[in-house]
Symmetry: D2
């Protein structure tokens, strides 16, 4: 499967190194941390990154295998074998109003037979996100948007994508096991058991570029996280979400979330749940990206267009969601069907 | 609904005081901590305790309204108004081999038109549990067993109950929001998201009679807790469950559980979840007992016998479970139907 | 002891209600949560609030006993008996450049024989803090400054205070058991035991006016918290302090702090300490204010001027500190001496 | 410095591998996790293990470099270079009543010019501990006892040691940063700040042989842990200590402790501290053993006998403690003096 990436941050470092890590494992071994070893016939190790875009000085002009370690990236160095392809990182779209830059990206995607473009630039560049979406659609390439800046949620892009027969997958990926999904699961459990929520908070911290960035551009993220909770629970008005309490440098690419849930049980007695979640932030993204890009590629190969419902539970703000709880159930069934198909 | 209780411990103190607490609330108010305000037409406040059995010197011979505060009981004193009925606590069955004692209990249950017998003595008295079960069945009274000592799980009692047309509900109640259910939900989430479990533990502490008792009789409890986890997750071999790390007197009737889950994500990177759960132990039981006794009463009124499937998710070791995940789903539907019926 | 307060926030609500709470206890009872029942001969219950200043519309013009419950105050209502004096809250200093307002405050303080002025307005009003300091010094009244806005740390005010023979106590009170003091104690323990710190963070959350305010005016607070840590440990460069991650409304006047300490032990093996601290924020302040105001009153009665060293460990940024670790030891000795004096 | 070890468990694996780890570091580098790089002129890397005793089948008869990895040992394999000496593990004392075995150990210690014997067998063998103590004293060798089984606390051994001019160091080592020392520090802080303790617990878990063993032989350990707390705080009656909640296999040689402290502050408001401590258990021991064996060697070289006061803060049950708080202060000064001496 031929993949292009826009943005060469920690997520791409995790994705590229992780694919290398899994390639060196024995065929018979269980793949640790992999939800779906095969999805629609595509194995984890079937992905090749054939094009990469990033405007930053430390990355543009260098081979991808070097750019993934350039500052401010700080995902661990795994020492896995290099991938077969090692494209030079190109600047791509610096100015979203410059149509020539879009055309150039479209041309590259076409020439390299790219199937899926993964958009993964820092949050807070909605115009750039939109521009990459347009460039990919024009090339007939499926788009996966990892960020809360809207792409799949834009009605005009959805219309364009349908016209071109291209799938649009987004927005904002649900982490593999992130604070939103854990928080949502516990609040849903509380609701199911009939306890009365008094109040709850979720506070996140990390030491990668995302966390420095979120301090300023936290509003889109906070809204997206609330949408993620609403996929799981009906009432979120008593829940405070702090996407980034601040930048904590010694954590590096690790992320820590503290969750607290206070409720009332029988005879108004207090019930309290305190949770700490620690993850490798970019592994937490890559573990879901690997499914999203395969879903996008399969949909494109099958000629499906628009938003593939199978991606619903993998996104914080899935497009076209009218009844998120119902769509979520359907998504899980579709995922199970895809995971049952053989790789060839 | 006419209820008899065997054992006047903290759970009964919570149940009796809690019903009083809810009776004094306004009809229009939301009931805090109540999963199902109405179940099969029965309100929380429709329960009357009309008989109580307990052999302990501090309780037998005293009115129920006093016995619920006798040592070692240490559930908080809520100051709620007293219930209408205030039966004298009778010794009931001290020696399970003494058939006369069983006959006497049967007679009392019949004379008082008891609908449901709630068995709630300390864990570790399987013969006494069995004896109360037999006495109730003989009286045509439904049985609810809160403890891990088997009653509903005994094939011969099940047969007797069917012959007498009596429902048997057990064994071992699932807490309203207990460590087993939270642990199970999080392990299930991990499985669903495709992370690989490295190891997990659950350790419980408290300061009521249960915790002093569990130190010695923990084996049945540990097995029952593992069964509860298997209702939710397929693999529990990497999970250590410690039902009682010890008696911590200053906690009184509060219970604290520490849970830790370690897993592997994308590229074998570590993921860690640490959870602390704090509850009022006996409220946590009473919040579920209130549903179990109503389910038992409704089943009996409708002439249903055997194990009522609606009780499945409310028990750690539900009887007759072949496919617990499927039975659990069915139970939730049945509960929803019961909860939709009007009180009259 | 005759006290005036500038600012009628939660801290003053806690102080006033708390004194009432302790007054109703038996003389022989141990006072819960009291470090020094007697200090320099002054009992906790010897304090009378005889004047109060606050410009806010919800408080000015109302009796103190009502103003302490006016929004946005949200300290719990303890139901303790009212204090003997119940002064009307006066606007005091609204414009720090208006010398007439200063003169008026000076006059009131003199007329009411006030011994100590407690400055406790929201953080971020350095000019107002300075103005109250000047007004009190002019009246010959000792000043206690609870906030990180500098008063005792201003060289010109210190000079004026010495000239007038008035003690100046500040700045920024160390909480009774706050995140800074716990964090400092644990980092110091690590240093003492010879472990090598890898990194540490401290993140604070709350739901009172302070936390809404800190989000904007956090810089002074962060600096003050780092100074507090340096009273305890030599190296604080690997420590991230987040004074307020955000406003969490359901916490009300409660405060939660999450601390994490990562270190290396023998053979470079990891050591990890995770701490959660939960306090009633304004009780945490009042428990130290009660000592600071008595230290200030005693110093004034004894004709001492400048900064009373006994207050060192009760402040985050004590004035005149050259060698904080040494001054801290001396302070503890002085406190012990004061605490040994009898009340009369 | 010539060391003999009795018991070849994880602690010895950590000690031997750790010395190797530090030897390969550059001379100029800071040693991570080392409290005292030099103590009485002895460097961390100056230690040689020249004799080792262990009766277990998996260890006796094999070279020390292999025995340290034999089951049930599960300290991580560090891959550090091997030590210069690699003695064969000898059975030593299997039967403490067999005087011939004692004589044989004495003879070996003498012949190999051993300076210090480190006693580190599993807890619960008080007779064996005593026998090793006697054998070492007879050889004029200093003894360090890591375990709660008494050696230095036995009056008759102390008398023998004084007669022979031999130092006795024990009992029960205080971990480098263990649950007792953290718990003690926080309880002491609470006392110092004047909060009123309501109740506190400490619960420990691990997956090495110690934890399986402690479940049965926990009484000595619990008493020793309470003694450790009393070195720091005056009142420990409201503190519950659970040395081992159980064996948690996936933790291996890691140890987790959960601490909870509940107190009352100003106006009787609640204060709560929850702590989780995670350590590599045997590194936590070896980081202190390295100081204890050097203190013992220095004392012996200087002809000092009895209990060396400098070891006080490194032990849970230091011998001859009349006023532990005072002796602790003195110990810290003595340690500082020793640490200031140059290595040659």
């Amino acid at each position: 499967m031929r993949l292009a990436v826009a943005g060469v941050g920690n997520n791409i470092s995790a994705l590229v190194q992780g694919i290398g890590f899994y390639r060196q494992l024995d065929d018979e071994e269980e793949l640790p941390g992999i939800a779906h070893p095969v999805l629609g016939g595509l194995r984890v190790t079937d992905i090749d990154v054939v094009a990469a875009f990033d405007v930053s000085e430390t990355k543009a002009g260098r081979p991808l295998s070097e750019a993934i370690f350039a500052a401010p990236n700080n995902y661990p160095v795994l020492g896995a074998p290099q991938m077969t392809e090692d494209p030079e990182v190109l600047p791509g779209i610096a100015d979203p109003d410059d149509e020539q830059q879009l055309t150039s990206v479209t041309k590259i995607l076409r020439e390299l037979d790219v199937e899926v473009l993964l958009y993964s630039l820092p949050t807070g560049l909605p115009e750039v996100a939109r521009a990459y979406g347009r460039a990919a659609i024009a090339a007939g390439v499926a788009v996966v948007n990892c960020t809360p800046d809207p792409v799949a949620g834009l009605p005009d892009l959805q219309a364009e994508a349908r016209a071109q027969g291209v799938p649009l997958v987004g927005d904002d990926l649900q982490s593999h096991l992130g604070s939103s999904i854990v928080h949502g699961a516990l609040l849903a459990l509380l609701e199911e058991r009939g306890l009365t929520l008094s109040g709850s908070y979720q506070v996140n911290m990390g030491g990668n570029a995302d966390f420095a960035n979120l301090r300023k551009h936290g509003a889109n993220k906070e809204a997206s996280k609330h949408r993620a909770l609403r996929q799981k629970v009906s009432r979120t008005d008593r829940v405070t979400v702090i996407p980034s309490a601040g930048f904590v440098s010694h954590l590096g690419d690790r992320k820590v979330a503290h969750l607290s849930i206070e409720a009332r049980g029988w005879a108004d007695m207090p019930v309290k749940l305190d949770v700490t979640l620690q993850v490798q932030d970019s592994s937490n993204a890559a573990g879901v990206i690997i499914d999203l890009i395969r879903i996008a590629a399969i949909a494109r190969r099958r000629g499906e267009t628009g938003f593939p419902v199978a991606a619903t539970t993998l996104l914080k703000s899935p497009a076209l969601v009218e009844d998120p709880l119902r769509q979520g159930d359907h998504a899980l069934e579709l995922l199970a069907v895809l995971a049952a198909e053989n790789a060839d």
